[in-house]
């Protein structure tokens, strides 16, 4: 129900964008630039790269708008563009996205901080996310913050669903460890 409503509201602006209406393009930019920038920030973990991604994403969205058929919302369509471009940036840094074979035994070694005991704070989660290795951070943010399920993440990253699940579970443990360390330090 809600999705339909939103699609309609955007469809009008999107139609104007298809005609090259700059004002309509700016409307979409205003509406989405901040959230898309944050999506990219979380994946790239780099302000300049996230800005590049944002610029490239909007440009290619407007360029390819005729391929947007409206079967998803414009927002989720744009978000996939942003995510794909962000992942390309991370990969081109030559840091392996996920040390897939390298188990690091984090899952086994890390002390099992019981989540019930832990008091979550937005700031400390954000800080811990930024300290995660690229591969963990990507899977974790896609799942926790961008709301994709493991099937979709598998599709986005070209990995298997099982890998996505295990990477998430490790990333999550690592995150909790980092948060614990932060609280000891502070």
């Amino acid at each position: 129900m809600e999705t339909l409503e939103y699609t309609d509201v955007n469809a009008h602006v999107v139609a104007r964008c298809k005609e090259g209406d700059r004002k309509a393009q700016y409307e979409l930019y205003k509406l989405y630039s901040k959230s898309m920038f944050n999506v990219s920030m979380r994946i790239t973990n780099d302000y300049t790269e996230a800005e590049d991604v944002l610029q490239e994403s909007f440009l290619s969205a407007f360029r390819e708008l005729h391929t947007f058929k409206g079967d998803s919302t414009f927002g989720s369509w744009l978000k996939r563009i942003v995510i794909n471009k962000s992942i390309t940036k991370v990969r081109s840094r030559r840091l392996q996205v996920v040390p897939m074979e390298d188990h690091q035994d984090i899952a086994e070694e890390a002390p099992d901080y019981d989540q019930e005991e832990m008091e979550y704070k937005v700031e400390s989660i954000k800080k811990a996310i930024q300290s995660l290795p690229d591969g963990y951070r990507v899977v974790l943010t896609l799942y926790l913050l961008e709301g994709y399920d493991h099937g979709e993440i598998a599709d986005i990253l070209s990995i298997s669903e099982a890998t996505s699940k295990s990477q998430y579970s490790r990333a999550r443990k690592k995150l909790l460890t980092l948060m614990q360390e932060q609280s000891f330090l502070s």
């Binding site: 939103y6 393009q25 700016y26 630039s33 920038f37 800005e51 440009l59 019930e116 937005v122 913050l145």
Partner: protein, 195 residues
């Protein structure tokens, strides 16, 4: 397994979007779009010259406009040479000949213009401003002018009625949006969190 971390994050989702891009980033994007439009459109027009009409309206109109200007220039030049008459003569004479060339135009116009005017007054009743069709208008006029010279009248007429239909579609969209708005309380800006 219940994931408390995920629940917590979802509950505080907005607080995680704390970064803001530099304010002038849009200017860069707009500038880039501007140069792309200039450089990309030209070659496309030339390539698609013959079969463009049903493929890409945007370019078709511009092409039509360009051709029309040239044709009109040539025509008026010839006209002035043969009859060194008063300057308004060309414009006055056009509607008469258009009737002869393509009587269908009048049918098309009466058919759609009524609908368009009806929709526009409905929109006004809902408190919306008038919808501007500047680009569609100029495209339509260009097509209309080209009727004088085209060997392919049918294609032009079809493009003209498509042009009018597109206005109706846009007006309908606008109406839907407005009706939606008055029926449902919209929550702006939350779409991304609902994906």
């Amino acid at each position: 397994m219940k994931d408390k971390l995920k629940d917590f994050v979802q509950a505080h989702r907005d607080e995680f979007d704390s970064f803001t891009p530099r304010p002038d980033l849009w200017q860069d994007i707009a500038a880039e779009l501007q140069t792309e439009e200039k450089t990309i459109i030209m070659p496309v027009e030339q390539e698609q010259e013959a079969s463009v009409f049903s493929i890409n309206w945007h370019h078709a109109w511009r092409y039509a406009a360009a051709v029309t200007v040239l044709v009109m220039l040539a025509f008026s030049a010839r006209y002035y040479m043969s009859t060194p008459d008063t300057s308004g003569a060309v414009a006055v004479k056009q509607p008469v000949t258009l009737e002869k060339i393509a009587p269908e135009v009048r049918q098309i116009e009466t058919k759609y213009v009524q609908v368009i005017e009806k929709k526009e007054s409905e929109l006004k009743a809902l408190g919306a401003g008038t919808v501007q069709f500047a680009e569609l208008d100029s495209a339509y006029n260009a097509l209309k002018k080209e009727l004088y010279t085209t060997p392919n009248k049918e294609v032009l007429l079809e493009a003209m009625s498509d042009n009018l239909k597109m206005r109706i579609a846009l007006l309908n969209q606008q109406l839907e949006v407005l009706e939606d708005r008055s029926n449902v309380k919209t929550r702006p800006d939350h779409e991304t969190t609902n994906i």
